[in-house]
């Protein structure tokens, strides 16, 4: 029974050995002269040195309504400084597309005065008696609310249609009371949910958060420095790690906008500057229209006029094909296309504010349209962000932390071994127990290396925590199996004792896992790592390592002949 063969036939032991070997391969420990000890483990900033920035995305989501006629009145009266009289409107009728409103005023106005408000397509007619009639078409309640909020708060506002409601994403900080007051001015309010709670929610949508994250990641990693990971933490936070970069430099890098430029082809391969990224007011969500992927974007007054002027000067309006418009991000060309004939024709008469960059018809075009959406923003983020936290650890200090934690771990292990030996006074128990414990550390580290988890000080505390519970559980197994210090006489009694031990262990392990799980879900940056490592450690311990410990001490003690002769011990 006690020969090596039987141990190796046990599937639990085979799994255990494979897991430890796998972990060692994943960690890949090595020694390079000059570099010292090397491994595939990733260390966090507090052990490696570097800095981090944590930013909060400010914004609000809410369902709101308003009296669209009041919005038009407010805008127009403010712009022309004279009262208006609404004569016809179908804005109040449901549906979101292509509504119109007509009003008259005694003030002399022209079309561009109204056009610049961005309310819709404008038509101006002079009526008898000095009155002017204005019709705004291709508009809707939704579009008007969007424009109203956007102008009032000086921020981008994006309406997002859900099943039967429109949620407005306001991309700047606005409190519920502020929003309520703003909507009140135009005869509207914030909607309530069915249960009576407000639909107002602080934060931004997941899509916006992910877009912000990819813009940041794109921008930071375009500097060709080290890999700078950008992670989302909780719902509204983004954490950026700058390994090996000090805090002051990190802030400089994060704040430096990318340089976006549009140039136009003049003759041959020569190009001429048209505008920079600051002329782009907003970038829309890529869409599939007329069998083409498009990324819409809007230029400001100056940008639109410059583009018109340059297009006329270079002759692009007459021969678009030989005057491509090229886009560059940090001097790297990212897009190039000719003016459409339609746009070229329009440009002869007036500047165009709303543009669409089309990329093609296939999946690759879809990806390109999405990339363009990021690039067009040239590192400008879609939402307002504020720095809520930052940190910095010198590389030398990190190295000291790393060595000291290894020393702390080793001394802890020796101290634990001493207590175990003092209690049992048997190497057959001491060696497997400490061995199991070490194997658990190896497996946790291997797992961390495999998923490229960054080990920081909090994660090390987590490893120590799971090792602590691990030793506790091994002691429970030992004491259950060895009643009166002897092994039970039959296999059956032995397995029943082992399963009793596991009832206690599983109970204790599940409380640890439950106690740690809120940290995994909540927004704490560092503590999340601590909780995940602890939970993984407990799982590895309970499933892989601890069952093997039971089998091993049985074999070792049997080999020494320490089996109880008295069958009638305390078992049932």
């Amino acid at each position: 029974m006690s020969d090596k063969k039987s141990l190796l036939n046990n599937p639990r032991i085979i799994i255990f050995i494979l897991a430890v070997l796998g972990a060692l391969i994943a960690i890949h420990p090595g020694y390079t002269p000059g570099e010292g000890i090397t491994s595939h483990l990733n260390f966090g900033l507090d052990l490696e040195g570097g800095s981090w920035l944590q930013i909060k995305l400010e914004g609000a989501l809410a369902q709101v309504d308003a009296d669209p006629e009041k919005i038009v009145s407010a805008f127009v009266q403010h712009a022309i400084g004279a009262p208006i009289n609404i004569t016809n409107s179908n804005l109040g009728v449901g549906g979101s597309a292509d509504k119109s409103i007509t009003f008259t005023t005694s003030a002399p106005i022209n079309a561009s005065q109204i056009e610049i408000l961005g309310l819709g397509t404008v038509k101006v007619d002079k009526l008898n008696g000095g009155t002017t009639q204005v019709t705004i078409s291709s508009t809707s309640e939704e579009a008007l609310i969007q424009t109203y909020l956007s102008k009032s708060l000086d921020a981008e506002v994006v309406p997002m249609s859900t099943q039967n409601e429109v949620v407005y994403e306001i991309r700047t900080a606005v409190s519920e009371a502020e929003l309520e007051a703003l909507m009140g001015k135009v005869g509207g309010s914030i909607h309530k949910n069915e249960d009576g709670s407000s639909t107002y929610k602080e934060g931004v949508s997941t899509e916006t958060r992910d877009l912000t994250k990819s813009i940041l990641s794109d921008k930071l990693n375009s500097f060709g420095l080290k890999d700078i990971p950008v992670r989302t933490v909780g719902e509204d936070y983004i954490l950026i790690d700058f390994a090996g970069i000090d805090l002051a430099t990190a802030k400089e890098i994060a704040e430096k906008p990318g340089k976006f430029e549009i140039r136009i082809q003049t003759t041959g391969n020569e190009t001429q500057h048209v505008l920079y990224g600051d002329s782009i007011v907003s970038v829309g969500i890529p869409g599939f229209v007329d069998n083409q992927w498009h990324t819409p974007f809007t230029l400001n007054e100056e940008g639109a006029r410059t583009l018109q002027k340059v297009a006329l000067e270079t002759g692009a309006v007459d021969d678009p094909e030989s005057h491509y418009l090229n886009m560059y991000l940090d001097d790297v060309k990212i897009y190039g296309a000719p003016l459409s004939y339609d746009a070229a024709a329009k440009l002869r008469d007036a500047p165009i504010y709303s543009w669409e960059a089309s990329t093609g018809t296939d999946e690759a075009a879809k990806t390109e349209a999405k990339t363009l959406q990021v690039h067009l923003r040239s590192g400008a983020l879609p939402v307002n962000v504020v720095l809520v936290g930052s940190g910095h650890v010198d590389a030398g200090l990190g190295a000291q932390f790393k060595t000291a934690s290894v020393i702390a771990g080793l001394i802890s292990l020796v101290a634990v071994a001493a207590v175990v030996y003092y209690r049992y006074r048997r190497p057959e128990i001491l060696v497997p127990m400490i061995g199991t414990s070490i194997s658990e550390v190896i497996m946790i580290l291997g797992f961390a290396a495999l998923i490229k988890w960054q080990l920081d000080l909090a994660a090390i505390a987590g490893i120590i925590a799971s090792i602590g519970t691990g030793i506790d559980h091994l002691i429970i197994i030992t004491d259950e199996v060895l009643q009166e210090g002897k092994l039970p006489s039959t296999k059956k009694v032995f397995s029943s004792r082992i399963s009793k031990a596991f009832v206690i262990i599983l109970g204790a392990a599940s409380t640890v896992i439950i106690a740690m799980s809120p940290l995994v879900v909540m927004g704490f940056g560092t503590l999340k790592g601590f909780a995940i490592v602890t939970i993984i450690g407990v799982f590895i311990g309970v499933i892989v390592a601890r069952p093997v410990y039971g089998v091993v001490i049985q074999e070792l003690l049997e080999a020494k002949g320490e089996v109880a002769t008295d069958k009638g011990s305390l078992d049932d």
Partner: protein, 301 residues
């Protein structure tokens, strides 16, 4: 430590009735709660909140200058506190604007070596505070539910939960008295304590309710196992505490690791409380419960 203490504890439990066993831990719990209440009434928070929960900037740097000299050197910033931590000095600043913040960061990183900076915005700090309380409460409730599912009877489950609650309250009161701030690190320690503290309670309850033998015998054997368990964790934490706090005295090239030092000292306090709560409080309640007349001999056989 284990054997001598085990015998002492075993005899103590045998020679005192349930009422006597409960008196001491309940008195300590009451004192702890009073400490936390007084602190709450006087300062608005039961424990001292660290920088992470209040907002501000903490700078830790290596220097031979005294904290007072540094106080002078950084007087142009909103310095709140300057204190010695081993061979380092920890400076705490209040909230300042971006410009000032950058100047401070440049100032510190160019003039000193082995610098660590942590800055938290006041609003985020508030948010962390709320989350910290939520995390503690959710963890505790989760643990309580698991314990109830394990034992499915009120009094034994309640005894386990009460002693875990007492462990945390005593650890919090210890933090208040010893001047350990609530930081993300000590919060982690308190959550770890929830996990550790129920280990020995589950062992005790399981042995008494689900095994044969006399209650006295079962308690003695649970003490033997349980005390070994707790002492291994205690020595491991003690080693971690000593190395992270005092290693620099022996090896000057090292420095304190505040995070590990704080985690270990809070856990040490909590686990000492746990020894008392498991073997006096929980044992007392459980022993009274299993000797109730309606269970006549059910748990004592």
């Amino acid at each position: 430590m284990a054997t001598g203490f085990t015998e002492f504890l075993d005899n103590f439990v045998k020679n005192h009735d349930n009422r006597q066993l409960l008196a001491f831990p309940l008195a300590i719990l009451a004192v702890s709660l009073i400490i936390l209440l007084v602190s709450f009434l006087s300062s608005g928070s039961p424990v001292t909140l660290g920088m992470e929960f209040q907002g501000g900037t903490q700078v830790s740097l290596e220097t031979t200058d005294s904290p007072d000299v540094l106080k002078e050197a950084f007087s142009s910033y909103p310095l709140i506190d300057s204190r010695q931590a081993g061979n380092r000095v920890i400076l705490e600043f209040g909230v300042m604007d971006n410009e000032k913040q950058r100047q401070l960061e440049k100032d510190v990183t160019t003039r000193y070596s082995n610098v660590e900076i942590r800055q938290i915005g006041p609003i985020y700090g508030q948010e962390l505070q709320v989350q910290a309380i939520q995390a503690l409460i959710i963890s505790f409730i989760g643990m309580a539910i698991v314990v109830f599912l394990l034992f499915r009877s009120f009094v034994p489950s309640f005894a386990v939960i009460l002693s875990a609650f007492s462990d945390i309250m005593i650890a919090l009161a210890f933090m208040k008295v010893a001047g350990v701030e609530l930081s993300l690190g000590t919060l982690a320690a308190l959550l770890m304590l929830i996990g550790y503290s129920v280990d020995s309670d589950i062992l005790l309850t399981n042995r008494i309710l689900k095994r044969r033998g006399t209650v006295e015998e079962k308690v003695s054997r649970a003490i033997e196992t349980g005390v070994t368990m707790t002492s291994t964790v205690l020595v491991a934490l003690l080693a971690m505490y000593l190395v992270s706090t005092y290693l620099y005295l022996i090896l000057p090239s090292f420095t304190q690791i505040p995070l590990l030092s704080q985690i270990s000292i809070v856990l040490l306090a909590g686990l000492f409380a746990d020894i008392m709560n498991t073997w006096l409080l929980n044992t007392g309640i459980l022993r009274w419960y299993v000797h109730k007349p309606e269970f006549k001999g059910r748990y004592d056989r």
